[in-house]
Amino acid sequence: MIKNSATEMAQSLSSGATTSVALTQAHLDRIAEVDGKVHAFLHVDAQGALEQAANVDAARARGEKLSPLAGIPLALKDVLVQKGVPTTCGSKILEGWRPPYDSTVVTNLKNAGVVILGKTNMDEFAMGSSTENSAYGPTHNPWDLTRIPGGSGGGSSAALAAFEAPLAIGTDTGGSIRQPAAVTGTVGVKPTYGGVSRYGLVAFSSSLDQAGPCARTVLDTALLHEVIAGHDPKDSTSINAPVPQVVAAAKNGEVKGMKIGVVKELNGDGYQSGVRQRFEESLELLAKAGAEIVEVSAPNFEYALAAYYLIAPSECSSNLARFDAMRYGLRVGDTDGASAESVMNMTREVGFGREVKRRILLGTYALSSGYYDAYYGSAQKVRTLITQDFNNAFEKCDVMVSPTCPTTAFKIGEKANDPLAMYLNDIATIPVNMAGIGGMSLPCGVAPEDGLPVGFQIMSPVMQDQRMYSVGAALEAALLTQWGAPLLSQAPSLDGAA
């Protein structure tokens, strides 16, 4: 039952073949069985989840009209606050903090009857591409437990790949939904910036952060997308417009007549051969399904990474200033006679990990008087150029595509001491955040040389998220015909693994 898609689980619930409580319990059992190896979860809220499930079952028994995902369990990235449930963002500095309010994403999930199983592991404050930066230890990739599950949302993607949950929420600042999806053989979507409320999403980089849906199929992802998306008056940057019809697009999966732009700059040197091979095969499948494949160029993408590593750290240096031990979270050095300043210093010294400190320092420097124009100012100009590149390309095509990542999952520890190599992992995902458009990663096979999943990225213009779902569903259907079974069935069983 737990290996089904959320859509299939929903059918079992509505037909009465199972109950939400049973389904939730099955997932809790699975977590108990395998999470010791995977470490996808930081906190499992068994009691809260079973209560939510019982409520949905009761509502169903009363004949109430329920949303399509009512009663389906979900794993929530630990960067979104949920009232009364510990939220750490993978950091020591928030250890023990229980938020007194719900994020809008959580409110929307609760309103739809989605059952929240618990909070998933992540790189501290969403800074990283491997989940190794979590203060609570790394998450392991279910395809190979010695490898990373991607990051920052490695917990959410690993939970999906390990069948600990059929649905998950991630957040994506530079690829933190799509890259984990790619390396775990799951689906993840970063909606258009402003498509999903950021209220209650603990900010890393406000102008780039976006929460989004993760699942094992394109349709499940679309269903979750529609649950969490929509205008929110509590988020000033939330777009006040109807949610794109992503479920309809995912159900149709129609690409006839669509122009698919292959980004010249995101498919060359530095891309693993198996990644390129699976990507090219996918393009052929899409062409067979009736799409027209064209090449597009985005000359400014080469500056995206550099600009990103000025903008994101700048915003984070300010966003993370609030963690000062005064009102919540960790407090260190509060002895008699200690000044507020020394308590702040000691708490931040002990509470933040190396990568977070590195980015706070970078950002503080970049915003400093005398450096602002050269760094933050220039980076914003690059951002505008990248947006123009997308606009120009979208005049020639309906969606743009690329491999999601240059490589398959690397080994835990392999890049831990080489931040630049780690940053390069996000080279294909970052431009999407810089322009605020939508991006999806879906599995397109395993690389022949290492047997690890490869991600296919689809990018769609602002508030045209339905386009990537159309293409994603078409590709998924074609691949499934080829494979005969979902890609995850090729993943090793976790039973008895070390």
Binding site: R198, K234, E315
Partner: protein, 503 residues
């Protein structure tokens, strides 16, 4: 302690001013969240995830605050920017929950305005134009109470208490361009400017403008340069100036302090100074030479402010009459002498006098009640006139009763006292206290005869033409009639009784 006199200072130096005024808006909710803004509530009861900066919380702009700021800009003759942005001002302090303040930096909402202020000079009234550089929006911080230690400052305190009720209250900062050319009148001009701002803000209804509660705060920047020099001197910025009088004292005090240093060949340090209400002096705060780098950048959580041009014109059309013009108009309409006008403004009774006049009272009478007896009672009780339980309607009624001869001035004072004591309306008090003018000549004559026989010697003096002696007898008759008699009528009857004629 100062060796220099003010005259010494101004004979050598020209002061240059720069004034920054912070105004707390009186919106019902905070700048970026829905929390209440009521002053004086229990600490930390008016807070939420947003103004406590809980992880994940986001600001949303209060539209009413934007409207108030645009009104202020328009009233100060500013241009309203079609596009402006919020920025983050980053610095760590325990009473600032986010450790950054949402403010505006290089893209403020209102720019390039002016205010004309008039002051008395040796050559008569003179108008000074104060140019406004910018008006921008920001949020207030929380309040720290540093307990223990001698200075009340964070250093040396045993512990500090934090109240976040004020955190996020909308603030508007009004910044002048440099103000040269005020010469020896710099302190008066500074005071008049803040007073004029206060009046304008009050007329707009956008703030309580109570300096003593901190809803209007002034930072005075002062520098000196040698007369004739084009080069600006180093400035000091004096904070904590919380009354109009203090603005004047602070500017004067800083001018003298700077001049003393400069005369001794010392440098003026660019720094923040704190005004001491008791001594009128300033003491050094933090030095701006190790200036904090606020690392301003555009606030990514808020979309830019782009007010609709039609809306701005609608607000402009609804602006109230400029207070200084209104004062001139009322002074003319009521034929008030300059001194009396100044007294009314100082006592802050202009509005209530106008209200009383609009209810039909004679302007002179209305003015003399509010400025005289009622002000005296307020002083006696050490409260503001507005806190007394007497309204324009009460005073208008009393003025009308006196005009009709139903009350004498003296009786009217008793009625005023009764109203203030909460005994009811003038009519109720007159009835309850049995107050009425004694105009029955028979009763008066009886009292006069009684007094004249009791004080026959004095009565004889009057009979013999020594009229000043009549005062004592009139007083005694008034006492006899418990003050309810019309003193003029008593005098008339008394003099007649003693064979003299009233003039």
């Amino acid at each position: 302690m100062s060796a220099l006199t003010y005259e010494d200072v101004i004979s050598k130096f020209e002061p240059v001013l720069g004034l920054e005024v912070h105004v707390e808006l009186n919106t019902n909710s905070k700048m970026f969240c829905g929390c209440s803004t009521i002053f004086g509530a229990e600490p930390n009861t008016q807070t939420c995830p947003v103004c406590l900066a809980l992880p994940g919380a986001l600001p949303v702009v209060n539209e009413k605050a934007i409207e108030s700021t645009i009104l202020i800009g328009l009233a100060l003759n500013c241009s309203i920017a079609p596009f402006s942005r919020f920025a983050r001002k980053n610095y760590f302090y325990p009473d600032m929950p986010k450790n950054f303040q949402i403010s505006q930096y290089d893209e403020p909402i209102c720019v390039n305005g002016y205010v004309d202020v008039e002051i008395e000079t040796d050559e008569g009234p003179q108008t000074f134009r104060i140019e406004i550089e910018r008006v921008h929006m920001e949020e207030d911080t929380g309040k720290s109470l540093h307990v223990g230690g001698s200075t009340g400052r964070i250093h040396g305190a045993d512990y500090s208490l934090l109240d976040y009720n004020r955190a996020g209250i909308p603030l508007v900062e009004i910044v002048t361009k440099i103000v040269p050319g005020t010469g020896k009148y710099a302190p008066e001009v500074a005071k008049a400017y803040v007073a004029e701002l206060r009046d304008i803000l009050r007329s707009l209804g956008v703030s309580d403008v109570k300096m003593e509660q901190g809803s209007l705060r002034c930072d005075a920047n002062v520098s000196l340069r040698l007369i004739g020099s084009e080069v600006l001197g180093t400035r000091s910025e004096t904070k904590n100036v919380n009354s109009l009088r203090s603005v004047e004292r602070a500017v004067r005090g800083e001018m003298i302090r700077h001049a003393e240093r400069l005369n001794k060949g010392e440098k003026v340090v660019q720094e923040t100074r704190h005004f001491q209400e008791d001594t009128g002096l300033t003491r050094s705060g933090r030095s701006k030479e190790q200036a904090e780098d606020y690392r301003y950048f555009p606030e990514p959580d808020l979309v830019p402010v782009a007010p609709d041009a039609q809306w701005i014109e609608k607000l402009r059309a609804g602006l109230p009459e400029r207070p200084s013009l209104r004062r001139k108009r009322l002074q003319e309409q009521w034929s008030v002498p300059d001194k009396e006008m100044a007294a009314m403004i100082n006592a802050d009774v202009l509005n209530i006098v106008e209200e009383t006049v609009l209810l039909g009272a004679d302007p002179t009478k209305a003015r003399s009640w509010w400025l005289g007896e009622i002000s005296r009672l307020a002083n006696e009780k050490e409260v503001a006139i507005s806190e007394l339980a007497i309204t324009a309607k009460d005073v208008a009624e009393i003025v009308s009763l006196v005009a009709q001869g139903e009350l004498t001035d003296k009786l009217a004072r008793q009625v005023v006292e009764g109203v203030i004591a909460g005994e009811g309306s003038p009519a109720q008090i007159i009835a309850a206290r049995g107050i009425k003018v004694v105009n029955d000549d028979g009763a008066l004559m009886a009292a006069i005869e009684k007094v004249c026989s009791e004080q026959s010697e004095t009565a004889d003096k009057v009979r013999n033409g020594h009229l000043p002696a009549a005062g004592a007898l009139i007083g005694a008759v008034m006492k006899e009639t418990k003050g309810q008699a019309d003193a003029a009528r008593v005098r008339e009857l008394l003099l007649g009784h003693l064979g003299q004629t009233a003039n």
